[in-house]
């Protein structure tokens, strides 16, 4: 069964360093999402792509976060510089066209900023 792939699974970094997360959605899925999940809370959408275009990045802290999906397939989320408050689980999800809310999630990258 196809899955959303994310790497790395865990990342420890020091404050002010740069970090990057990678996501490979299920083949053929046009929509890709990046969520941040702080411990004890539900996922919060950071950015949503439709193919290679950003359709929602209203909650993305653009002074330090960036995301790209250059060929409309895999995607990278970057944080530079990382801050202590960025410690969280970063989830990637994908969905096919017309999914009406059904999303397929990866296992996530747990980031710890020291």
């Amino acid at each position: 069964e196809a899955e959303v792939a994310q790497s790395p699974r865990y990342k420890i970094t020091e404050k002010s360093q740069a970090v990057a997360f990678w996501c490979d959605p299920i083949s053929g899925h046009a929509t890709l999402y990046w969520y941040r999940q702080i411990l004890g809370q539900g996922p919060e959408l950071l950015v949503q792509f439709q193919d290679e275009s950003v359709v929602d990045d209203s909650q993305l802290p653009k002074d330090r976060f960036s995301a790209e999906r250059l060929k409309g397939v895999d995607s990278t989320l970057k944080i530079q510089p990382a801050e202590l408050g960025d410690s969280a689980m970063y989830l990637c999800a994908s969905s096919p066209r017309g999914a009406r809310g059904i999303q397929y999630f990866g296992a996530g990258t747990r980031l710890s900023v020291l």
Partner: protein, 115 residues
Amino acid sequence: AQTVTQSQPEMSVQEAETVTLSCTYDTSESDYYLFWYKQPPSRQMILVIRQEAYKQQNATENRFSVNFQKAAKSFSLKISDSQLGDAAMYFCAYRSEVGNEKLTFGTGTRLTIIP
């Protein structure tokens, strides 16, 4: 903006018993979708069940069913014959009928199954 509230941070149930998880939401829209997603420990989140707001009939998926009360803006999940594999965080989520596919999640309920 829509909000989703899960007032039970933790629940527990005896194996083989039935448990109900609560969810309320706030919206001014008439057409939308509601979901329950399950996040097992150290595993990816998966869809449990989906409800379209225009459907009066409550959705059912095997041992999982919902009680959708549109006027009360309530959307509870009932798990029958609870199994050890049901132990997980359960998130209620809302999606508008219009616009993009964005999901708004609640804060989750941690379900523990007691053997």
